[in-house]
């Protein structure tokens, strides 16, 4: 959270400093009577742009900010995965990525917020799709598996892309770190904070066999739910 806050402070500082500079520059010109309407308009447009930039940063944090709101309830991971596939499926098809689902039979329910866990799954699938954009279409495949480990429900999203250099893999959960041209670097940090708020963990590692990356998260089982659905 502290790391998150410091990353956020840095990121918001840039547009804020720019807004302050443009505004003070405008005031000084207006007071000394040296600013033309054209110049001042241009500067105020920049103020608006920078305010938009700040707003975009705040928007990207919405999932993070909302996470404490709703109470956790017993949830079925299958329903949530299917919901997520409904949303991301068309995208995956466009990129010619095949998604294989392997649910453990009689999977117990977990405690949590369905919308937030759906966000996590969406994010992981989208990352996996993007990771394979340079692979030949026949190799583009995502395996999504669920399993049980002690008191935890486990979800694994495995891609068959090129993987990541070690130094990059070490940083993918850092706020504002991104390998994408247009990324904000907020996806995985938000996912991690959601999972941790659910009492679970989120980790990433290279596949033992073959290429690609597995991102795995755990969720606390709903203990009163010992029967299948």
């Amino acid at each position: 959270m502290g790391e998150m806050a410091s990353g956020l402070a840095h990121e918001l500082n840039q547009p804020l400093a720019a807004i302050a500079n443009y505004s003070h520059g405008c005031l000084r010109r207006i007071r000394s009577g040296t600013g033309t309407v054209d110049d001042l308009t241009r500067a105020i447009e920049q103020v608006c742009n920078q305010a938009d930039r700040a707003a975009e940063i705040i928007r990207s944090l919405r999932g993070f900010v909302n996470k404490a709101d709703s109470p956790h309830q017993p949830q079925d991971i299958r329903d949530i995965v299917h919901e997520a596939i409904l949303i991301v499926g068309p995208e995956a098809r466009t990129h010619e990525v095949e998604i294989n689902l392997k649910f453990m039979p009689d999977m117990p329910r977990f405690m949590g917020n369905a919308i937030q866990i759906e966000q996590v799954i969406l994010n992981l699938i989208r990352n996996a799709v993007e990771a394979m954009s340079n692979m030949p279409p026949v190799l583009r495949r995502i395996d999504l598996r669920t399993s049980i480990e002690g008191n935890m429900a486990v979800v694994e999203v495995r891609d068959f892309g090129p993987g990541l250099p070690h130094e990059t893999l070490a940083r993918i959960f850092d706020p504002f770190f991104t390998t994408k041209m247009t990324g904000m670097g907020m996806g995985l940090p938000i996912c991690r904070s959601i999972v941790e708020a659910h009492g679970g963990t989120l980790s990433a590692f290279h596949n033992e066999k073959g290429c690609g990356l597995t991102v795995r998260f755990t969720l606390r089982r709903a203990m009163e739910e010992t029967l299948h659905e």
């Binding site: 500079n21 520059g25 000084r28």
Partner: protein, 214 residues
């Protein structure tokens, strides 16, 4: 004196920041008080365009991809450029501030900063730059004058500066006091010194030249 337009020589405020909005907004603010501003997008771009002759100051973001602000500061020192550096950062990072100051920054500001504070610091930096340049040219003149002294004149001058009486110097060098007086007059003329204390000061400046920038 606080109006930069009153300065004799045009000075440039260099703003080095990889964030376009940050540097262009700073340009807009600085130009509102009449500064001449140049905004390279990276430390490398600055080094490619700057030759050390243009007076001014440097406003530097320490957190930049590629060559960092700190590395750029080291380049300035290596090249013996006397451009004062103000370091700005969005990151409240004490070790970073310490390193920047050790590398010769005259100030360290944290974003968000007060605009008047920044403008005041820039004004101070520009005045410091003028002083440093004036010091340098005075020193260059002293050194050039000193180079024109003959071996004998230097021997006499060193003893005069050390506070020795003409008679003592005459004995030490095996010359007559009258001759020493002539040498003294030559030294004063060539060094453009109007008094003995002025000559002593010049001598001291030649000897502390190494610490000139501190």
């Amino acid at each position: 004196m606080n109006d930069p337009k009153v300065m004799k020589e045009r000075q440039t405020v260099f703003v080095v920041d990889d964030d376009e909005a940050a540097r262009e907004s700073l340009r807009w603010l600085l130009e509102s008080v009449g500064h001449h501003v140049n905004c390279p997008a990276s430390a490398r771009e600055f080094l490619e365009s700057y030759d050390g002759s243009e007076p001014g100051c440097l406003v530097l973001d320490v957190r930049m991809p590629g060559m960092s602000g700190l590395e750029l500061q080291n380049h300035l020192i290596e090249r013996g450029w006397c451009l004062p550096v103000i370091v700005v950062t969005g990151h409240g990072d004490v070790p970073m501030a310490v390193r920047a100051m050790k590398a010769g920054a005259i100030d360290f500001l944290q974003k968000p900063y007060n605009d008047q504070t920044l403008l005041d610091r820039i004004q101070q930096a520009l005045e410091l730059c003028s002083q440093r340049r004036q010091n340098r040219s005075e020193l260059a003149l002293i050194r050039a004058n000193h180079d024109h002294l003959t071996q004998r004149e230097r021997e006499v001058a060193e003893r005069v500066v050390a506070g020795k009486a003409n008679k003592v110097i005459a004995i030490e060098l095996g010359l007559s006091p009258k001759t020493i007086e002539v040498y003294c007059a030559n030294v004063m003329f060539k060094m453009q010194a109007h008094s003995l204390s002025e000559l002593v000061q010049m001598w001291m400046r030649l000897h502390v030249e190494a610490g000139e920038l501190s």
